[in-house]
């Protein structure tokens, strides 16, 4: 099963990115095979609807769970429509997050954790 963790860097030693839509990288891990796919986020400087765009990307990549710091209302709605589980409040090193997830230490989030435009500074 594929899970995606938003990341500030392109490897497993990097820290989780607290943003979803405008994160630096999406790191997709297949929990069955441990295969890893690192995607640089080309949406992050987009003009608008970035949460929708990134949510759509997760569906296209057949991700089933998203682990991140925060998710805004449009992104949450898109992920929910794609039946993708959302886990917010995640931080730390990517490889540690993967281990924690495999041990079942995370709980799904029921709604967006921040308002729109959180990821723009």
């Amino acid at each position: 099963m594929k899970v995606c963790i938003t990341s500030q860097g392109s490897d497993l030693e990097a820290q989780v990115d607290p943003r979803f839509g405008r994160c630096q990288y999406f790191i997709i891990v297949d929990t069955d095979t441990n295969a890893t796919d690192v995607l640089e986020n080309s949406n992050k400087d987009g003009m608008g609807g970035v949460g929708v765009q990134s949510g759509q990307l997760m569906a296209e990549k057949q991700v089933k769970v998203v682990l991140t710091g925060n998710v805004g209302p449009n992104a949450f709605q898109t992920l929910q429509a794609g039946d993708i589980e959302v886990i917010t409040g995640v931080s730390g090193k990517i490889k540690e997050v993967i281990e924690k997830y495999k041990k079942g230490e995370f709980k799904a989030t029921q709604g967006p954790s921040v308002d729109s435009h959180f990821g723009t500074s």
Partner: protein, 283 residues
């Protein structure tokens, strides 16, 4: 003739200049307040409003029962206003529309192979029209909570009667609402103040006008305050400074009471008529 009044920096005196110009001209004048997010010209023009109508844009509504989740609508949308989530193992497919992101371009409904997208009207603001003496007045008001001003601005500009002298009061800044307001002008007056912030934003506005190839000139408001950097800049760039209005507490007092500068100080009527003559020569 179409004259727009813009600035760059807000609060420099666009409405002072545009309304004074309107009041100083004889003949048929049309005043369009295109600052639909915070219209204020009506405070000075005080028109009798005769007509009100809603302004709406078209947003898509998807018939999920006919949708095949092909994703064409999502691919064509430049604004990410549609998300298509194809059916999965446990979920049926879903096509989501985000109306607030939608710019109403109509591409999605036009290109849907199943023809299952219809366009539904969504109210975004209102248009009000009226008269004051020889001035025909039009303004728009964007509904609170709406993010896009251009559809309402375009509705206001649809009322343009080019046989008259048309004055457009533009919003502050240099982004979409301003571009939409000043597009098609024969001449643009840039109102500025001789301060560092005023100059910074004037330079940005000049860049826009040059790109749009609209002839322009500068009016310096509160001209005896601040510094001379604005004068030096206009000279360096060969930008005509068409008028200077020195600071007068009485002008500010009149303005804050909704009284136009040309009513409080009738001598300014001649100055604004002179400004109009200069604009006619430069346009």
């Amino acid at each position: 003739m179409l004259i727009s009044v813009a600035s760059g920096k807000g609060g420099t005196g666009k409405t002072t200049v545009s309304t004074s110009l309107a009041f100083s001209l004889n003949g048929d004048v049309q005043f369009l307040d295109c600052d639909v997010e915070e219209p204020n010209a009506h405070i000075f023009i005080k028109p009798d409003i005769e007509k009100t109508e809603a302004v709406s844009i078209f947003v898509p509504e998807v018939d999920q029962s006919k949708c095949t989740f092909c994703g064409k609508c999502q691919q064509v949308c430049s604004y990410n206003a549609i998300a298509v989530l194809p059916p999965g193992d446990n979920s049926k497919g879903n096509t989501l529309v985000f109306p607030v992101l939608c710019h109403g371009c109509g591409a999605c409904s036009y290109l849907c192979p199943q023809e299952c997208i219809k366009e539904v009207e969504r109210d975004v603001g209102i248009l009000e029209e009226g008269k004051k003496g020889n001035i025909e007045f039009v303004h728009g008001r964007l509904n609170v909570g709406e993010a896009m001003a251009p559809p309402v601005i375009r509705a206001v500009k649809k009322r343009i009667d080019i046989k008259k002298t048309v004055i457009i009061d533009a919003p502050p800044g240099t982004s979409c609402p301003v571009i939409t307001s000043i597009q098609g002008s024969d001449f643009c007056l840039l109102v500025t103040e001789p301060t560092p912030f005023g100059l910074n934003d004037l330079i940005l506005a000049v860049e826009v006008l040059r790109k749009m190839k609209i002839p322009f000139g500068v009016v310096v408001n509160r001209s005896d305050l601040g510094n001379d950097e604005t004068d030096k800049y206009c000279e360096r760039e060969s930008i005509p400074v068409l008028m200077k209005i020195p600071f007068k507490r009485e002008i500010a007092r009149a303005y804050s009471g909704g009284v136009s500068i040309v009513e409080a100080f009738p001598v300014y009527r001649k100055e604004f008529r002179g400004l109009f003559d200069m604009i006619k020569k430069l346009a």
